[in-house]
Amino acid sequence: MSDQEEPLILAVEDEPRNAALLEAILTRAGYRLHVAEELGAARTWLADGVPDLVLLDRHLPDGDGLDLIPEIKSSPRLSGVPILLVSASVLPQDVEAAMAAGCDGFLPKPVRVKPLVDEVQRLLLDEVPGKLAD
């Protein structure tokens, strides 16, 4: 994370309106956002880009967002990037699956502005990714 530049967030979200919402909220909060509409696009971007945080949806046209988590966590270059899952799958077993996959935070859809901004902020400040504060 550079002091000069605003933190860069990679949002993997296929629903255009929800992508627009993330962009509206997070740019206003002072972040830069790159939206990938599919897992494929996200992988391509991650091949040479390193975001400060990944916002991840689960139900994507080309697969389950959870599949991306181990790929990021196992890459030496990306392993420090915190991952925040934002999903409409909110049943207890869904949340468990998300935690088991190794995401650093989970927010249920519909997301509220303040909790989203707070959680992004917390994850960006957190020195030890992979650990969930409450």
Binding site: R17, E38, G63, P110
Partner: protein, 854 residues
């Protein structure tokens, strides 16, 4: 009293008792096997009885001596015969034993006679020794043979009958042993030696044991029987209990059959749970054990037993017990299985509900996310949003998401409506290609965003369907295609008319494809919850494909998908060109006063033309465009003829024809094919009576349908003629004339029974003598005319001579024809029956009366 005397008395009593028991048993049942048993013990009893009787009535002494020897010698043969009832014994062995008996009797008789003349001192001549050795061999071999036969039979049986057979075997062996001891002692010991008394005691002890054994085998006390049955029942119940959990009821029946066969030696044992009765085996006696169970009211165990089976009563009692136990166990098992399957069903339903709710939660949250998020941004506006353009964009997002939410709710309602069978289609004629083009246009912006190409290849097709539902179908398929195809992909939409009055819409994308495991379930609502890929496929619409399929099927169409992972998917929708036909259960009423024709034709113009032609010729017409509808109606109404088109929207004509001809209830309805399809051969082969290729002229049509007369009916079913005539000779003449040609002639001898037969049998024609003994023919004709069941049956009146004009006037309007008796009359009747209705019904003056005959 000496020990020897007590033994003797006990022995006598034991054999007397057995003899008495078996005698009563034989007299009660009169079966051959029981006769043989009685004879076996009768012979021994006779020998034993000789001494006491001789003591009381010395005069009978010589007779008894004469009888007791053959009786004693016959015993082994009789026992062997008895054994042959429980175990097949070679005929040669039986005959050999009988021959030995005769030879030995001869020998002994010769010795006795020789002894009287010769009078040797100690009597031990070589001849005597030879006879004694012969007897020894005879007793040993025959008794041993019988004992072995009993023992072998016991091995195959169970329960009381087994222990009884074992006992019989031992008793036989002991009896043989007693005889052998007597002989050996007689040969080896000098008369009067001290060993003789001891031998006598030994013989009596052995014989008494044998008698007790026979008693237990052939006249057992009840407690003994129960005891051995209990063991079997106990073992059976144990076997039932160790059946694996969730055992099928069939396994219990298998166990029962095995146990019953073991216990009875039956040639065949079968559990029957329906009304079927298995065929009886040769030389067998059928015994049936009803289940006495509400679950299997017809259930029973059927056994074929050998006709002369030994100890059958015991077996039957035991099997009755086994059946009761098995049925109890099976009922319990069936109940448990039912309950478990009910629980499984409930659990599946509950799981499906949970899946549905989980999926709904997910689907609702997606648009709510945008609605709540953007509205929150607007509400908390900190100045950034005051920019009018931004506010506008946010509002648009909220609006769009709201609409999406509404779509979702509508989808759920639609799906529920379709699944409850309450979807109202509002069919209209419209150009399908225009609708598809418009739908594609609405998707264009989204496709452009993803740089996808939409390629349209639409033939001009006008369809009759519910446009809003068809739009829903097209929109769903297109939006899915756009959604699941990556940037730069291509979506191809084509529309082409099909061969069977239908149209095929295909939507092909170059998306990710559907895993083969999921492809069968892709049209199910929310059944995809367990795989990520499927969740993916349904994102956004959730219920879309399930609803799409339901909508297509509501239009009598079909939908299918072919897909290859990484290559893309093709959805194919086939829709009939005409609106779906509502199938009603209630058939239209057939006209009662004229011949009726059911027209199965989907083209409105052709339908109208057929109706016009047929009605102008006096036929009543009912019509439907649907083969299914026609089949449903024909189970309830019976038109005089069916006119069938081949190319129909739902079922094709060939199938309708086949089904009509395969069902005994509709087989007799004559079917005439009228179609543009020129395949007369096939039509006639499938059972059509005629085949006309469109276009059909009025004359051809009417001539052809006019040909469907009684003669046609004779080919397809029996035509019945009711003769009401007191004259037996007249009846005989009708039979002679009509029956050889395939008509069925039934008769009544007076008006009352004639009317009843007419109502009951609904003949095709009534021949009525004008002069009946009870009611006159004129009155009967008007009664027949006025009764609904007989009103349409043509009536011919026969009269001895020309009728007076006033009588004729009375008949007018009520009868088809008046026949004056004579050979000509029969000819004209036959002629009428065969040619009857070549002329259009209305044209003839008597047409009103000829109803029901076309």
């Amino acid at each position: 009293m000496s020990f020897d005397a007590i033994l003797t008395i006990a022995l006598d009593i034991a054999f007397f008792a057995i003899f008495g028991f078996t005698l009563v048993d034989y007299l009660r049942h009169r079966e051959r096997v029981r006769l043989v048993i009685m004879l076996v013990f009768g012979s021994v009893t006779l020998v034993l009885a000789a001494a006491p009787i001789r003591a009381v009535l010395p005069v009978l002494g010589p007779v008894l001596s004469l009888l007791s020897l053959p009786a004693l010698l016959a015993q082994p043969v009789l026992v062997l015969w008895l054994a042959s009832f429980v175990r097949p014994i070679p005929r040669r062995a039986l005959l050999g034993a009988a021959a030995a008996f005769v030879a030995l009797m001869g020998g002994v008789a010769a010795i006795v006679v020789g002894g009287q003349t010769g009078g040797g001192a100690d009597g031990r001549t070589p001849a005597l020794v030879a006879i004694a050795l012969g007897l020894l061999a005879y007793f040993v071999i025959v008794e041993a043979g019988a004992a072995i036969a009993f023992a072998l039979a016991a091995r195959d049986r169970a329960g009381a009958s087994r222990s009884r057979l074992v006992t019989a075997s031992l008793a036989t062996a002991l009896f043989g042993a007693a005889l052998v001891i007597i002989l050996v002692a007689g040969l080896a010991l000098p008369a009067g030696s001290p060993g003789v008394d001891a031998t006598n005691v030994l013989v009596r002890v052995v014989a008494l044991l044998s008698a007790l054994g026979y008693l237990a085998a052939f006249a057992p006390p009840r407690a003994l029987r129960k005891f051995s049955q209990q063991g079997i029942v106990y073992d059976f119940v144990r076997d039932l209990n160790v059946l694996p959990a969730r055992a099928q009821v069939g396994q219990i029946w298998e166990l029962l059959v095995k146990a019953a066969r073991h216990a009875s030696g039956a040639s065949r044992v079968e559990v029957v749970t329906d009304g079927e009765t298995p065929a009886l085996g040769a030389g067998a006696r059928r015994v049936s054990f009803p289940f006495n169970s509400a679950r299997w009211p017809e259930g029973r165990l059927e056994m074929d037993l050998p006709v002369n089976a030994l100890f059958l009563d015991d077996d039957l009692e035991l099997i009755g017990l086994l059946v009761d136990r098995a049925v109890q166990s099976a009922e319990r098992e069936a109940f448990v299985l039912e309950r478990e399957s009910l629980i499984d069903d409930l659990q599946a339903a509950s799981a499906a509900k949970s899946d549905f709710l989980a999926a709904m939660s997910h689907e609702l949250r997606t648009p709510l996310n945008a609605i709540i998020g953007f509205s929150e941004l607007l509400a908390e506006g900190d100045g950034t949003e005051s920019d009018a353009a931004t506010v506008h964009t946010y509002a648009e997002h909220i609006h769009g998401s709201g609409l999406h939410l509404l779509d979702l709710v509508n989808d759920v309602l639609d799906l529920a409506r379709v699944e409850a069978g309450r979807l109202d289609l509002k069919p209209a004629q419209f150009p399908l290609h225009d609708l598809i083009r418009q739908t594609a246009a609405t998707m264009q912006p989204l496709a452009d965003q993803k740089q996808q190409r939409l390629v349209l290849d639409l033939a001009d097709v006008t369809i009759e369907a519910d446009p809003s539902r068809v739009r829903q179908v097209a929109l769903n398929l297109l939006s899915n295609a756009v959604k699941f195809t990556g940037p730069g992909g291509e979506i191809r939409i084509s529309l082409e008319p099909g061969p069977r009055n239908d149209v095929t819409l295909t939507v092909t994308d170059t998306g990710h494809g559907i895993p083969p495991a999921d492809i069968d379930r892709i049209f199910e609502a929310f059944h995809q919850a367990d795989t990520g890929e499927m969740k993916t496929r349904h994102e956004g619409t959730g219920l879309g494909l399930a609803l799409t399929r339901q909508l297509v099927e509501a239009h009598d169409g079909t939908i299918g998908v072919a897909s290859e992972l990484g290559v893309g998917s093709t959805f194919t929708v086939r829709l009939p060109l005409r609106r779906p036909i509502e199938i009603t259960d209630v058939p239209p009423a057939l006209p009662a006063d004229k011949p009726s024709v059911l027209v199965i034709e989907d083209d409105p113009a052709a339908q109208q033309l057929l109706r016009l032609h047929l009605e102008s010729a006096g036929y009543g017409v009912v019509e439907t465009a649907s083969g299914r509808q026609a089949l449903a109606w024909l189970t309830k109404i019976r038109p005089d003829a069916v006119i069938l088109d081949i190319m129909l929207p739902d079922l094709d004509g060939w199938e309708i024809l086949q089904r009509l001809k395969a069902d005994p209830a509709t087989r007799s309805v004559p079917v005439m094919v009228v179609s543009v399809v020129d395949d007369r051969q096939l039509g006639l082969a499938l059972g059509a009576v005629d085949y006309l290729v469109k276009p059909v002229s009025r004359d051809n049509l009417l001539e052809s349908i006019g040909r469907l007369t009684f003669t046609t009916k004779v080919r397809t079913r029996t035509v019945t003629v009711l003769v009401i005539d007191p004259d037996q000779d007249a009846l005989g003449r009708y039979r002679q004339s009509l029956e050889p040609e395939g008509f069925r002639v039934i008769a009544a001898h007076d008006a009352v029974s004639g009317r009843q037969r007419a109502i009951d049998d609904k003949p095709d024609l009534i021949l009525l003598d004008a002069l009946l003994p009870d009611v006159d023919g004129f009155e009967l004709t008007s009664e027949l005319r006025n009764h609904p069941a007989t009103a349409s049956i043509p009536v011919w009146v026969t009269a001895p001579g020309a009728l007076a004009p006033d009588l004729k006037a009375r008949l007018n309007g009520n009868v088809q024809e008046v026949l004056v008796r004579g050979d000509d009359a029969l000819d004209s009747l036959r002629g009428w029956l065969e040619a009857g209705h070549r002329k259009p019904p209305v044209a003839a003056p008597s047409a009103r009366l000829s109803t029901g005959s076309a």
